[in-house]
């Protein structure tokens, strides 16, 4: 069974006839070919598949594609504009927050949601806001530091 949906993905409007059995992750990766969003646990525990929908992060693996009808979705691909990394991406690179990289797109989306909210975050707030993501490489310290510095816009590197 298919259903027509209108979704905006990374600023581009799509009208898609999607199988109702598909998750938003399936549509993003396999229909739109945006493979930056990763599939980790498939049950909403690891956060690798997190995307921003209308300003809030969601795990796209446990989000039916039909729910995105009429909504604006942003994936990690949206962060790089004109070939330039975003402030938060630079901070992740500069602070060594990336190792194998599978969890990174998800962490970046939550960190970006925080950055764009305009609110201020303590270190504990950052840890809580990132608590829906699992990383098996870094031990989290560098990710939390990178997010903290990214939120303060104190990343020094401005090259790619």
């Amino acid at each position: 069974m298919n259903k027509d949906i209108n979704i905006k993905v990374n600023g581009e409007q799509y009208t898609l006839s999607v199988d109702i059995r598909k998750s938003l992750l399936d549509v993003i990766r396999y229909d739109l070919g945006l493979t930056g969003t990763k599939e980790g646990c498939s049950v909403g525990e690891c956060g690798a598949c997190a995307v921003i929908i209308d300003g809030q992060t969601f795990d796209s693996c446990v989000y039916l594609a039909v729910w995105a009808d009429g909504k604006a979705v942003r994936t990690v691909e949206s962060l790089q504009v004109d070939g330039k990394f975003s402030n938060m991406q630079k901070s992740f690179i500069e602070n060594g927050a990336v190792q194998c990289g599978i969890c990174t797109p998800g962490f970046l989306m939550s960190a970006t949601e925080m950055e764009e909210s305009g609110e201020s975050f303590t270190k504990d707030d950052i840890k809580r806001a990132l608590s829906g993501h699992l990383c098996r490489c870094t031990g989290y310290t560098k990710i939390v530091e990178a997010t903290e510095k990214g939120l303060k816009h104190s990343c020094s590197c401005d090259n790619n």
Binding site: K22, V43, G47, D59, V62, S131, G132, L134
Partner: protein, 288 residues
């Protein structure tokens, strides 16, 4: 892909209950953080789903008489950030703020937490303390039941196949003048299910407990109120001796079990300790 046969998205409560009455083997899906997992595990394979996220059930309102209405499809994030809840029952927001992680809380709903029927539902013990009432609608009738009568056993509630929980109602008399606290003991601080959850609400006047309400999750097959402890402490001075004695009595109403998450003995130790800490904190007592 999820193994589901059909998906219908309700545009209103009337649309939802009509669809439920006309279609057997239909499961209501709100945020999907439980339902989609079960579908994936094969437990609900081949089911038809009724989506209610666009049925207008995601508002929090307060009546002139102070009655708070929380729409069943309100996400935990919405409950936690809502001004009415922050002002009147902040401890409910804190309780739902312990669930999963941010992405889960952005989509999972209060109604889903209740209807799932789990004793570990982090919202349930606070809702038990608040004597929450649940509005259940179907094409046959609209009824209001007390939350204590809603749960029948593990993952088992009174909700029938054609019924929809629409509103969680909290009356002023059940929160006015109370302070509250929810404590979750789990193996990690996020993305975990409680080993024991304990909600305490207290009204103190001049160092005396005028009223205390204690409810625990995972301490029995359903969330339970600890009435023996509550009766004991009512009217007594808020001191360590009374609080300790009351906390011991919580076990009169619990029925903890062994599981891989924790033994019965450990769970009982937690119930007593968390009830004690909750009462101490709400009455400003320092525990050594």
């Amino acid at each position: 892909m999820f193994d589901i046969k059909g998906y219908y998205e309700a545009s209103s409560i009337e649309d939802a209950v009509k669809h439920l009455s006309e279609n057997e083997n239909t499961k209501i899906i709100a945020g999907g953080t439980d339902v989609l997992i079960k579908v994936r595990e094969g437990k609900l394979a081949g089911i038809s789903l009724l989506g209610i996220s666009r049925a207008g059930l995601d508002t929090v309102t307060i009546d002139d008489d102070g009655t708070i209405h929380i729409g069943s499809a309100c996400s935990f994030t919405k409950v936690e950030k809502n001004e009415i809840i922050k002002k009147n029952i902040p401890y409910l927001g804190e309780a739902v703020g312990t669930i999963g992680g941010p992405q889960v809380r952005n989509v999972a709903t209060l109604g889903g937490n209740v209807c799932n029927g789990a004793t570990s539902a982090d919202s349930a013990s606070t809702l038990f303390c608040l004597n929450a009432k649940l509005k259940i609608e179907s094409v046959r009738e609209t009824k209001i039941v007390e939350i204590k009568d809603f749960y029948l056993g593990p993952s088992w509630t009174i909700l029938k196949e054609d019924e929809l929980l629409t509103d969680i109602i909290i009356e002023k008399q059940n929160y006015d003048g109370y302070r509250g606290k929810y404590q979750k003991f789990a193996q990690r601080n996020a993305m975990d299910i409680a080993t024991i959850g304990c909600a305490v609400m207290a009204k103190t006047v001049n160092g005396v407990f005028e009223d205390v309400k204690i409810a625990c999750g995972v301490a029995a097959p359903t969330p339970v109120r600890c009435f023996e402890a509550e009766e004991f402490i009512k009217g007594k001075a808020a001191n360590l001796e009374n609080i300790t004695a009351a906390a011991e009595l919580t076990l009169g109403n619990t029925k903890a079990r062994d599981s891989w998450r924790g033994s019965k003995a450990f769970r009982e130790h937690l119930v007593v300790e968390l009830a004690k800490r909750g009462m101490a904190q709400l009455s400003g007592l320092e525990l050594e």
